[in-house]
């Protein structure tokens, strides 16, 4: 059960790739809407089908509200509001620049800059930064009681928390001031008694990159002059919100070796860095089918009596299918126990592997139902440390 997390203003769903972060984020928002709240889910990489289910017109960067009638028709009536949007890193970055540019001319210069265009759209890492920036915008927006944040599929699931710092360090860091100084002001180097090391760095860098590239970078960075403080401040605000009791982090895990190990590591890092960890959501757990019938021949005879072709072979195949299904479920159980032991408590929620992939509202409602089902929370998990 993840009740405590549902009271928080920001719910972050993190975890390894493919475990179900996007699905769980959408289900959390759906559940909040069901409870009468105004919830917005920021999805990172929704498949078109899921976006359709959430009523997102053309995977927009702007929040769109899911149609209440459609939710009701799908068996998930909401007395609140369900909003969804897809993160568009480039559009978000453009707005950030517009917000902090001192004037129109600087803004246009940055937006038109070749390096900026590649940096804002294509470079890995900008998406992580912009997820945090977008969160800031939505918190200011005022239309939402809750924001559920799906996280980018980073190598390290927490990369996105460090991304603003990394990016601001690049556009405004002291190191770069040194590197770009010659282009801004050729007297700069002469005026200061620079360590020999630094001038060697400059000389070498020019040689490696070619002078032109270095000048372009310098021009690009100098256009950010004066905006850096604003960037850093915003990133700092989000970070303090995310470490406060207004936020909750759910770690989504799947009962597979890799994702389970990643989840344990993630829990450790969240706790170490002071982020409010609200529990593990173990997704896609297979149900354990009953044991095999004692007598295969008996099954074969029955099938034969029904006129089934190749009855003995069919009976054997049925048992193989059963054995495989049991093997999968038993592996899930083992990993579930291993995860509980390593994470210091049972999962806050266990969601079954659904036969029909949850790509529509009805499927998401089923996931939401499992998320808040009290049955698994008999023992108090890590959620107890929340609130």
């Amino acid at each position: 059960m993840i009740e405590a997390a549902l009271e928080r203003r920001v719910v972050v769903c993190c975890g390894a790739g493919g475990v179900g972060k996007t699905t769980v984020s959408a289900a959390v928002a759906l559940e909040l809407a069901r409870r009468g709240r105004r919830a917005a889910v920021v999805t990172i990489d929704p498949a078109r089908r899921l976006a359709d289910a959430l009523g997102m017109a053309g995977l927009g960067d702007e929040p769109t509200e899911a149609d209440g009638a459609a939710l009701r028709a799908a068996g998930a009536p909401a007395s609140g509001q369900l909003w969804a949007l897809q993160l568009d890193a480039k559009a978000t970055f453009d707005r950030l620049v517009a917000r902090y540019a001192p004037d129109e001319e600087v803004r246009e210069r940055i937006l038109a800059n070749r390096i900026y265009q590649h940096l804002s759209g294509a470079v890995a890492g900008s998406q992580e930064y912009m997820a945090v920036e977008r969160l800031h915008e939505l918190l200011e927006d005022g239309r939402f009681d809750h924001i559920v944040l799906d996280t980018p599929p980073a190598e390290n699931a927490l990369d996105f928390l460090d991304a603003p710092e990394r990016m601001t360090r690049f556009v405004g860091g002291k190191a770069l001031r040194v590197l770009t100084a010659p282009a801004e002001d050729s007297a700069w180097l002469g005026r200061r008694a620079l360590a020999a090391g630094t001038s060697a760095v400059m000389a070498v860098l020019r040689r490696v990159t070619g002078a032109e590239l270095l000048d372009d970078i310098a021009e690009f960075l100098s256009s950010f002059e004066g905006m850096y403080a604003g960037f850093a401040e915003r990133a700092g605000e989000v970070r303090s919100l995310l470490t406060s009791d207004e936020a909750a982090f759910l770690v989504v895990a799947a009962p597979e070796e890799e994702p389970a190990a990643a989840a344990v590591e993630l829990v450790r890092r969240l706790e170490e860095d002071g982020f409010p960890f609200a529990g593990i959501v173990l997704n896609r757990v297979h149900r354990l089918p009953p044991g095999a019938p004692r007598d295969v021949d008996d099954l074969a005879r029955r099938l034969d009596a029904l006129g089934a072709p190749r009855a003995p072979a069919l009976a054997a195949a049925v048992l193989e299918a059963l054995e495989d299904a049991r093997a999968v479920a038993i592996r899930d159980l083992d990993l579930r126990e291993g995860l509980a032991a390593a994470a210091g408590g049972p999962a806050a929620a266990v969601i079954p592997a659904l036969e029909r992939e949850p790509v529509d509202v009805a499927g998401l409602a089923e996931v939401a139902g499992a998320l808040v089902s009290p049955s698994v929370s008999a023992k108090r998990g890590p959620i107890a440390s929340l609130g």
Partner: protein, 341 residues
């Protein structure tokens, strides 16, 4: 001889045996004939597992094969029982080697290759300013990683007669990041107009976008969302002029029951109970799943690239026996001819 990113290599290995012009899709060689393979796909679909299986399959065919992964995700090394995840190629099987790419180390190595005077490189490597720059500069990590992969691909044997590696398999990051990684060469070429970086980026871009040299394999699971995402990825790669060679459908449920079988099981179900009914239910659930998967597989085939199918291993793929089994399935899949779009 350690590979280096230095552009002044003594001569590059021929990256292709085919025509040097960008060939049309219809005459592109199948994945198996391309020396450099990038395995990418959504998180958790089985990229590392498939990379290992592909490497084993190539090595079995007698190719001297190098598996590459990027530092930080030493999944591949763990799968192969490679204790140290070393950045030097180490042997992991007959004809099969693996190496981890550490972008920081590769950056330093790159600089050393660029700079004739060792002392200068030392100053740079030891400089805090420089370290801050390399860690923060967006795109640099990707560029250096790609450069390192490229340098392995063009590395020659000591006798200069043949490439050091017959096949290279890269366990790439999740789709979004992997596409960004592959696009870095073209991006950097644009950003640095002229100068040594521009030229290096162009050399790298030439190799990774050449369909006779490089093949991208997009891995998917046979579910609706993963398949639609794989199709999007294929479109995106094509739009970026990156050579998609195959889709790999991983974790396919075995097809044990014919329609006739299913009909018989459905009528039998009503007549039994207890564990027999449980067994029949499991069989019917499996056959429903297999039927759904077959639909998603057809959708994936609509992507216009050959689809290689790999079975779901009920007992997991994190074991050597599992990898060997998948490698055999890869070998079967590779022998299909491409170009049936």
């Amino acid at each position: 001889m350690a590979a280096s990113n230095a552009p002044r290599q003594r001569g590059a290995a021929p990256v292709s045996s085919g025509p040097t012009l960008t060939s049309q899709h219809a005459i592109d060689p199948p994945l198996a004939e391309r020396r450099l393979c990038f395995v990418l796909g959504k998180g958790g679909v089985g990229k590392s597992t498939v990379s290992a299986a592909l490497g084993i399959a190539y090595a079995r065919q007698g190719h001297r094969t190098l598996l590459l992964e990027v530092a930080g995700r030493d999944r591949l090394s763990r799968l192969l029982d490679r204790a140290d995840a070393s950045t030097e190629p180490t042997v992991v099987g007959e004809g099969l080697y693996a190496a981890t790419i550490d972008p920081e180390e590769a950056t330093e190595e790159y600089l050393r290759g660029q700079l004739p005077v060792r002392a200068i490189a030392d100053v740079l490597a030891g400089s805090k300013t420089f370290r801050t720059f390399t860690q923060a500069a967006p795109g640099l990590k990707e560029m250096v990683t790609l450069g390192k992969i490229w340098s392995y691909a063009v590395e020659l044997r000591p006798d200069q007669e043949a490439p050091e590696w017959d096949r290279l398999v890269v366990d790439a990051p999740a789709t979004g990041h992997a596409v960004a990684l592959l696009e870095t060469a073209a991006n950097v070429r644009e950003i640095a107009q002229g100068g040594p970086i521009h030229e290096q980026a162009e050399r790298i871009r030439e190799v990774i976008s050449h369909p006779a040299a490089t093949g991208i394999a997009v891995v998917a699971r046979p579910d609706e969302l993963p398949v639609s995402e794989a199709l999007d990825a294929i479109d995106r790669l094509r739009a970026a002029e990156l050579p998609v060679a195959a889709a790999i459908l991983n974790c396919i449920t075995p097809r044990r029951f014919s329609d006739e079988d299913v009909a018989a099981l459905e009528s039998a179900r009503a007549l039994v109970n207890g564990s027999e009914r449980g067994a029949i239910d499991a069989a019917l659930a499996e056959s429903r799943r297999a039927a759904r998967e077959a639909r998603h597989a057809r959708d994936l085939e609509g992507g216009g690239v050959p689809v290689i199918r790999l079975p779901l291993l009920a007992r997991g793929a994190g074991r050597l026996a599992g990898l060997e089994e998948l490698a055999s399935a890869v070998t079967d899949g590779l022998s299909q001819r491409a170009g049936v779009a």
